[in-house]
Symmetry: C2
DNA sequence: GATCGAACCGACAGCAGTGTCGGTTATCGC
DNA sequence: GCGATAACCGACACTGCTGTCGGTTCGATC
């Protein structure tokens, strides 16, 4: 019998505590707030869910494990999210939005085409390094024959691809492709999945310096894109 | 009560029937052999398992569903494979061997480098088109936090990558890389995952003609590889 | 300090899946 | 034809998970 339920099992502190968890006025160090406000607890649950879903996939993740990671019992989860599925979709949407926002600034940034290619590659590896769990959740193919989840996931992928297509329209056009053709779409799919493949590999070889990956990926993809239309002169 | 268990629910006939299912001597059309020989049934089970595991992933696939697809009850599965896990690993190994064998002939075939690159790309799309289920099983990241399965899967991936590295050693060297360096490894990972990314996309856009994909992928990857070492002259 | 909302908990019902076991019957060798 | 091997089945015990419910106690407000 472990008697006292121990205020909080030291949940790694996802950062400074959530928004309104600490009343900033009373400076008197309440060491841990046993009972959090609704929104704060909700944030914690989403963080925990991201971790567990990312590690196990949707099916193998259990609400019990998520609850434990969030420092709470299962019942509490159901007060914030109607079902496991709703929780999953919420997390998925949030993380995807974060990714798209993160990438956008790099792709459409200033600088020459080659510079932006390098920046784009760097931005993706940035994201993969800073949010390895989110990367897995978004890219690893863990549909379990569930039609709805599969559809949602492909919707997200499609949105992502289209966004990159739009952002790189100028570049694909310069490579001699109609930027809205399926040729261009295939090209973008190739770019994205090659980057993610390298990121996957990186996650298992964390000692490899980032510069190695970036240089290699940016080099290959740059030459590959450039070589598509050998007629054009290489002037920027 | 559905009375007669119905000889066989017409399991799509995976091809001409399994090896020894039909005694070739007695030409007298026994329409369906109700009770198959051990090895024949085992083959059917493996085929069914491939389909179900591929569609659902390891965790979400149930022995009941595999049994049904194999035209048999669950108990029979356990007479051929000790556990679900053993069945899964068996199928995984078989399919991976098939893939490596299939790719090998294309990569190390005759012809110039550019020709072989195109042949390699074509070989992969061949495989993806002919064995979509095997492709999913081998490439889609469906580890569910299971340490053993995860290890096995990465072992397979590593083996595959090393094999391709060896087969393309001449090409990577010509591109200015040490063919056993981690640079080369990253390059190969990039090649493989970009191809598979396109194959994934293709599976959702089956109307796209193969030539489109092949030309695009081979073009980008060829230029990308070639552009890595701009110092070399392009003589074959 | 009394009151009220809501954050939290333990327990329950129901379901789906795995692996096991004893019994049944098709099919092959004699 | 007859017996033995083994392919096959139905049922069972057990486990783990989801979603629900009634009750408890923290903490903010008046």
């Amino acid at each position: 019998m472990s008697a006292l339920p121990s205020p909080e099992p030291a949940p790694d502190a996802t950062e400074a505590d959530a928004s309104e968890a600490e009343t900033p006025g009373s400076a008197a160090r309440k060491p841990v707030r046993r009972r959090m406000s609704g929104p704060a607890r909700r944030r914690r649950i989403e963080d925990a869910a991201l971790a567990v879903f990312s590690a196990k996939g949707y099916g193998a993740a259990s609400m019990g494990e998520i609850a434990e990671a969030a420092g709470v019992t299962r019942s509490v989860l159901y007060e914030h999210f109607a079902t496991k599925r709703v929780l999953f979709l919420t997390v998925l949407g949030t993380q995807n939005a974060a990714l798209v926002a993160h990438m956008g600034t790099a792709i459409t940034g200033r600088g020459g085409r080659r510079t932006r290619m390098r920046a784009t590659v760097a931005a993706y590896f940035d994201f993969a390094e800073a949010n390895p769990t989110a990367r897995r959740l978004l890219f690893d193919q863990t549909d379990e024959g569930d039609p709805e989840l599969s559809a949602v996931r492909w919707g997200i992928r499609q949105t992502r691809t289209r966004a990159v297509m739009a952002m790189m329209a100028h570049d694909t056009e310069r490579a001699g492709l109609d930027p809205r053709s399926s040729d261009a779409e295939v090209l973008i799919e190739l770019l994205i999945s090659s980057l993610d493949g390298v990121a996957q590999w990186w996650a298992h070889h964390p000692d490899t310096p980032r510069a190695t990956l970036e240089t290699m990926a940016a080099g290959v993809l740059w030459s590959g894109l450039e070589g598509l239309n050998p007629r054009r002169d290489p002037a920027e």
